[in-house]
């Protein structure tokens, strides 16, 4: 039987087409993204610095990651043109703070607005408006806005540094917000101290956790989905700490092996605007789970050893990432050296020609910006978004990451829930 499932929520709209057997089990699943804006064409012909304002608008949900990808692309361009740009540790740290703020608030929204909501519904529970979670994520955005101006769509990073020059006051404000957020994570999300969470990451303890994260896992257990959702077991991190990990091998990853495949798009008679992103010609999973394994975060890595890339591991990785990022942001903020300058001016962009590539670990995985620039003008621009990795469409024999994870699930509704463990986002995919 063929069914179409509409997936829509904060991150735009996707359509899942399922083929099921008589008992309703999923035999095939394909993913369609039906919106398109032509962002790459809009970038072409403009001053290369315009990418810093236009790129964030690719996505209102992870636009800050696009800003950082664009600025890294420009700095890489400068370097390859022989005019390397200097960025002080302070400017770098500030960019890191705002970048990971976006990760943290995304994960919280995903937990409350998508996962608890959708899994609860399958169990017949009335969804709640998660005001406290919205408040916490708005606090994280405030933390970011202190340095970046506003969220969404900030443009404070430039090749050479950042335009802001924070003082102790902004840093104190940020630390206060961070403590508030940490309290929310401990009280509401985990139901325990972060140390206790990290020290007891076995499935029994996780299922006993009092917070909303525990509730989500228990929902998944009741739905019999906890140990399902396995995909290929191939992981990729291209931004920070670049690694490729397959069941047999772990090695450094390199951007040169990345390609895009548009065989499934409307341009070639397919059913979607989204291109597939491939590494060495294959689908790889990117995102929090890939990052946890790549950096060998102990709790998640152990879970992965035991349960593989199941819903359990994937969900836990996203929550564990929030916890680990809190510590990271605190470290960044407390070790800022205010005497360093925020910005070291590079030579004029008009004197620069060449190619640039910028890679960033965005909330949902590796984000890539590539451009060719001639005398400061963009000749071509290409964006590969995280969702293109995880939600690409493969063939029957070689399904994409999320496609594979949905195979064999007993109903389309449950398969859709597994689909959401990847944190679906259609907005930037169809740039």
């Amino acid at each position: 039987m063929i069914t179409h499932e509409l997936i829509e929520r904060i991150e735009g709209e996707a359509v899942l087409d399922f083929k099921t057997d008589k008992s309703g089990h999923v035999q095939e699943a394909s993913i369609r993204f039906l919106h398109f804006r032509g962002m790459e064409a809009i970038l072409e012909g403009r001053n290369a610095l315009d990418a810093l304002v236009i790129a964030p608008r690719v996505c209102g949900i992870c636009g800050h990651s696009h800003l950082i990808a664009a600025v890294r692309m420009l700095e890489n361009l400068y370097a390859s043109a022989g005019s390397a740009v200097k960025v002080t540790p302070k400017a770098h740290a500030l960019r890191e703070v705002t970048r990971v703020c976006e990760l943290m608030q995304n994960h919280i929204k995903w937990l409350y607005l998508v996962m608890l909501h959708e899994s609860g519904k399958l169990l017949g529970k009335e969804p709640q408006v998660a005001l406290r979670a919205l408040y916490a994520s708005s606090q994280i955005n405030q933390m970011s806005a202190l340095f970046s101006g506003q969220w969404p769509h900030s443009s404070y990073a430039h090749p050479g540094g950042v335009t802001c020059d924070p003082t102790h006051i902004e840093v104190m404000q940020a630390l206060k917000l961070l403590s508030d957020v940490e309290r929310f994570i401990e009280k509401d999300v985990l139901g325990c101290k972060t140390e206790n969470f990290e020290a007891n990451m076995d499935v029994e303890s996780l299922l006993l956790m009092e917070g909303d994260f525990g509730t989500l896992l228990r929902y998944f257990e009741r739905l019999d989905l906890l140990d399902l959702g396995k995909s290929h077991g191939r992981f990729l991190v291209l931004g920070e700490d670049a690694h490729e990990i397959t069941p047999n091998e772990r090695s450094y990853a390199h951007i040169d092996f990345v390609s895009e495949d548009d065989s499934q798009t409307f341009a070639h008679g397919g059913k979607t605007y989204a291109k597939n992103a491939l590494y060495r010609g294959k689908f790889y999973e990117t995102g929090p789970l890939a990052r946890a394994i790549s950096t060998e975060r102990s709790g998640v890595s152990a879970l992965y050893q035991q349960y593989g890339d199941t819903a359990l591991t994937r969900i836990t990785a996203r929550i564990d990432e929030v916890v680990s990022l809190i510590a990271y942001v605190r470290l960044l903020l407390t070790s800022l050296d205010f005497t360093e300058s925020s910005f070291i001016p590079p030579v004029s962009i008009e004197s620069i020609s060449g190619k640039g590539v910028g890679v960033v670990e965005a909330p949902r995985g590796s984000l890539i910006h590539r451009a060719t620039v001639e005398k400061g003008k963009i000749a071509s621009y290409s964006i590969i978004t995280p969702t293109q990795w995880n939600l690409g469409n493969g063939t029957y024999d070689s399904p994409g990451i999320a496609q594979k994870a949905m195979l064999g699930i007993e109903s389309t509704a449950k398969a859709s829930l597994i689909f959401r463990t990847f944190d679906v986002c259609s907005v930037c995919t169809t740039h």
Partner: protein, 412 residues
């Protein structure tokens, strides 16, 4: 020439506010009576949802005093005298009698984000949760087919009464195929037309829904246009900017609830309470502008001392919006606060008209008064033409809107 420079200085340093802040006692007494009657009417109506405002306030630990403080600030923002504060408070409590349907078309979801999670003092958030968001991907309980049904029901139940919020532009190219919605693959254009038919008014939110925004930037690959280019014969309120400021969205709903009317609009259909003055008029760096102290390069001494960003391409003097007052993310900051200029995102076609953070001189902006800008350093001429832009912007923008209207019609 020196006369001219003086005249220019005067213009650029004067407040450009064209909003009448005081309309006289009789006017306000009259309005007050009307609002009271309207609120009594609303009180009698059944709420569109069961969320209870007072309960939510309590749950979130907000006391009456804090709430009244919010109400008086909001009253001021709406440019009403303080005597309206209790009415605004009443209106907020009755937010669940103002049905709102929210559509997301060709966009980045930035406005939903700004509205629902990124911003708003706590009370604004509650106000927004309480309004009957009858159809919004984020807050509604339903998804998929169920959601489509819910949308149809909401439109039927609140026929002629709901405010239709629209985020995102409408791709007209390729018969609208660049954006379709729902299982039946309805185009954004058809979807918008269907949903606007029985709306009381339409609120276009963000640069995309108002003027086409970034998808409409040259070469406009999908033929994107704003709502006012396709919907005719309906009151339209534009809240441009990228993203639009949530305070202004709340303001429009409150105003509607309170008065049953849409707020006073400028020639681009923007509420005057929010777009009646320039960024520049209330900018925290304004004193430096007036003193001729500019940032010349990011990271320089001027940047460290928060000097004016005009030479770094700030479009504040030509941009009508209230972000210098309201700011973003709970008023915590705004672009100029972190040392980058305003990009003019609430003005039509700003993507093509205003280059990014480079001096206006490099932006090749044709001043409406004629002439092309030279460098800012050539003070007289630079200032003069920039002023031309500043004061002529409303006229020029209306001309653009007029032109677009024509091309919009040809799409129908």
């Amino acid at each position: 020439m020196s006369d001219k420079i003086e005249a220019v200085k005067k213009l650029f340093t004067s407040k450009s506010s064209r909003v009448e802040t005081n309309k006289g006692d009789t006017y306000y007494q009259d309005l007050f009576a009307k609002c009271e009657a309207r609120l009594n009417e609303m009180r009698a109506q059944t709420p569109a949802n069961r969320l209870d405002f007072s309960e939510l306030l309590e749950e979130n630990g907000i006391d009456r005093r804090e709430f009244m403080k919010w109400a008086s600030a909001t009253t001021a923002m709406l440019m009403l005298p303080p005597m309206f504060t209790p009415l605004v408070a009443d209106a907020a409590v009755m937010m669940n009698r103002a049905p709102v349907i929210w559509l997301e078309l060709q966009d980045c979801a930035g406005n939903s984000e700004a509205l629902l999670r990124a911003d708003g003092p706590k009370i604004d958030e509650i106000v927004l949760d309480i309004i009957s968001l009858e159809y919004h991907e984020t807050l509604q309980a339903a998804a998929g087919f169920q959601a489509e049904k819910q949308l149809d029901e909401a439109m039927e139940t609140f026929k002629g009464k709901y405010l239709l919020f629209v985020e995102g532009s409408i791709p007209m190219g390729m018969n609208g195929q660049y954006g379709t919605i729902g299982a039946a693959g309805e185009t954004f254009h058809d979807h918008l037309m269907r949903c606007s038919e029985n709306a009381a008014a339409i609120v276009a939110v963000g640069a995309c829904a108002t003027f086409g925004g970034i998808p409409a930037a040259s070469p406009n690959p999908t033929g994107a246009v704003g709502v006012m280019n396709v919907v005719k014969n309906k009151p339209i309120i534009n809240i441009p900017a990228c993203p639009a400021n949530p305070a202004n969205m709340v303001g429009v709903i409150l105003h509607y609830l309170l008065t049953g009317q849409i707020p006073e609009l400028d020639s681009l259909l923007r509420p005057k309470f929010a777009f009646g003055y320039r960024i520049h008029d209330n900018c925290e760096r304004r004193a430096h502008f007036d003193a001729g102290e500019y940032v010349e390069e990011w990271g320089d001494k001027g940047a460290q001392n928060n000097f004016c960003l005009y030479k770094m391409g700030c479009k504040g003097p030509m941009t009508f919006n209230n972000c210098s007052i309201v700011r973003y993310n709970e008023g915590i900051n705004w672009p100029i606060g972190v040392g980058r200029g305003c990009i003019g995102c609430s003005e039509p076609d700003f993507w093509d008209k205003y280059a990014y953070e480079r001096p206006m001189a490099d932006a090749k902006i044709k001043a409406p008064t004629g002439g092309v800008e030279k460098t800012v350093d050539e003070f007289g001429l630079g200032m003069l033409t920039a002023v031309g832009i500043g004061i002529g912007i409303h006229a020029a923008a209306s001309a653009v809107a007029g032109k677009r209207e024509k091309s919009g019609e040809s799409h129908e």
